[in-house]
């Protein structure tokens, strides 16, 4: 019992990551095109459609305001899908984890490999959106080059959060609740579609607890070149929360699989 909180991690974790990469290389085109299609729809419908009727926000057109936030939300959705449905299918139906832990790979490395993979998907899908809005002329500053780094950290955070959910509610039907009770509210109330300054003070305080809010602050600030100490604090917030959530996720997954 004394060593349940100690992590058993070695460089073999990258072998787990490479396994996911090997699988992904077989179907990345389909996967990538579907995943960036959805944010593109939002951009078209909200940005160009609804945006016509929306007055300027903080001196920006609606699409200028929305586009950088869609980088953040797309990154959140990609690691969240990967580390709920994807992870659960590998664990429960394909028994991939059981096969891996029969080798010198430890369960902690399997879990961390999943988290790293989720983070990579956030990085990949967020960066694709960044590229699209660059092409559309919506990137105003070279600070945007730092966005992929933000996506990696936010990916670690959302991947860990998803796997904590699996650890607590290991059932594929429970993921519906995860998305409707956690992910969708974050998507709607983290400053993606409207600035939080219009909300009551209590709502603004609550929103501070939303990881997505800090990711949105960062992507929007960097893409628009509106940088400063406030962004450093957003980044520190993400790093600290990710660092707290990761070991919890790894611990819960170990408890679930190794019995």
């Amino acid at each position: 019992m004394s060593n349940t909180l100690r992590m058993d991690i070695s460089p073999r974790v990258f072998k787990v990551f490479r396994r996911h990469l090997t699988v992904y290389r077989r179907n990345w085109k389909v996967s990538l095109s579907f995943n960036f299609f959805e944010p593109l729809l939002y951009l078209a419908a909200m940005g160009y459609g609804l945006g016509v009727y929306v007055q300027a926000i903080e001196g920006l057109t609606f699409i200028q305001f929305l586009a950088p936030a869609l980088i953040a939300s797309s990154a959140m959705f990609s690691s969240s899908y990967e580390c709920t449905y994807g992870t659960f299918i590998r664990m429960e139906f394909q028994k991939t984890f059981q096969a891996m832990v029969a080798t010198p790979v430890s369960m902690d490395e399997v879990s961390l490999g999943e988290i790293l993979w989720g983070s990579f998907k956030s990085f990949l899908y967020g960066s694709v959106i960044l590229f699209v809005i660059l092409v559309l002329g919506l990137v105003a500053s070279p600070w945007a080059l730092l966005v992929p780094g933000v996506l990696l950290v936010s990916g670690l955070l959302f991947a860990s959060l998803s796997m904590i959910w699996i650890g607590l509610f290991p059932n594929i039907d429970s993921f519906n609740y995860y998305f409707s009770l956690v992910i969708t509210p974050l998507f709607l109330f983290s400053g993606v579609f409207f600035p939080l300054s219009g909300l009551p003070a209590i709502a603004q305080t609550l929103a501070w607890a939303s990881p997505l809010l800090h990711v949105v602050n960062l992507t929007r600030g960097l893409v628009l070149g509106n940088v400063g100490m406030h962004l450093v604090w957003d980044f520190v917030w993400l790093v600290v929360v990710a660092a707290v959530l990761m070991p919890i996720a790894i611990h819960l997954m170990r408890r679930l699989v190794i019995r």
Binding site: D8, R12, K15, R19, V23, K95, T96, V101, S106
Partner: protein, 306 residues
């Protein structure tokens, strides 16, 4: 030298005892069988050997190493064939072995050479690029065994290797396992097929409800509990008391199995002719060589009147 030793080994799941303080040891280069019905504790026992289930109490040493503290070193030298197929469905046949090899840090060139050799040995050379899902049950099993050999393990642990296979596929697997043993690999096998245990195992333990009932070579177990032959008497259970009293000098034991009576004769042929000369006649008489199944029935008492 013993390659695996268990001392008072216990496994509990949420307070339920699956393995009840067992002791056994496995010798190097033998085929060691763990025989028992479903729920006997066989799978729990082998899972503890590779650290998939932490032990609850007692001691378990594999390759001289304590399983609780040296799981990684032990797993590097084991080959595991689990009960449920857990081949990587997202990867093709050859890729399955290559990716698995990477978990052992086997260099890619070496891994490819070994993978091709093992796939050849298991008759899967023409399936390198096939999807795992498209393989037959027997092929999946063979692929799982091939995968377990990728690190040239000193011990291969197979949990019910032929459950669900048709007889022909089962014989193919047995043949490969015999070949493995002849190469000096220690094999540990759980099974509820008595024929499988008799065909493959040098030595075995019989488990039921988490306990070891007995252990020995198949021959020793037969000799100890049943003898060389058994005589089945159809619908003989009702007359069991009379018959066993009458012939108690000619038999070494008996068992009622449903309506039938099974006798363990000292001289089967002679007893059979004496029975056939009795005024009371029975449904049928069957004199046959004893099998491990008879040992198992005798030990577990399964089939006795409730």
């Amino acid at each position: 030298m013993d390659i695996i030793t268990a001392r008072n080994l216990v496994k509990e799941y949420n307070g339920l005892r699956a393995v009840n303080g067992i002791n056994f040891s496995v010798h190097r280069q033998e085929c060691f069988g763990i025989l028992g019905p479903n729920g006997a504790g066989k799978t729990s026992t082998v899972r503890m050997m590779f650290g998939f289930s932490p032990i609850t109490a007692g001691e378990l040493h594999v390759l001289g190493l304590d399983v609780t503290h040296h799981a990684r070193e032990i797993k590097a030298r084991l080959g595991i064939v689990p009960q449920e197929n857990n081949l990587d469905l997202d990867l093709k046949v050859l890729q399955n072995l290559l990716v698995y090899a990477s978990f052992f840090n086997i260099p890619e060139r070496e891994a490819r050479a070994r993978a091709l050799e093992h796939l050849e040995f298991f008759g899967l050379s023409d399936k390198l690029d096939a999807k795992v899902d498209h393989l037959s049950g027997g092929m999946k099993r063979r692929l799982t065994i091939a995968r377990a050999l990728i690190n040239n393990p000193e011990i291969v642990i197979l949990d019910e290797p032929t459950t669900g296979l048709d007889p022909q596929a089962r014989h193919t697997v047995w043949q490969r396992l015999r070949h493995l043993r002849s190469r000096g690999v220690t094999i540990i096998l759980t099974t509820h097929y008595l024929e499988e245990a008799a065909q493959l195992c040098d030595r075995l333990i019989i488990m039921d409800h988490g306990d070891i009932l007995d252990e020995g070579t198949p021959g020793e177990l037969l000799e100890r509990h049943v003898g060389a032959e058994v005589l089945e008497i159809g619908q003989g259970a009702a007359a069991a008391d009379n018959l066993t009293k009458q012939f108690h000098n000619d038999i070494r034991g008996h068992l009622e199995v449903g309506d039938n009576l099974v006798l363990y004769p000292l001289n089967g042929r002679e007893l059979l002719s004496r029975l056939q000369n009795l005024p009371q006649q029975f449904d049928h008489y069957l004199l046959r060589p004893a099998t491990l199944e008879d040992v198992f029935l005798k030990l577990t008492g399964r089939g006795l009147k409730e």
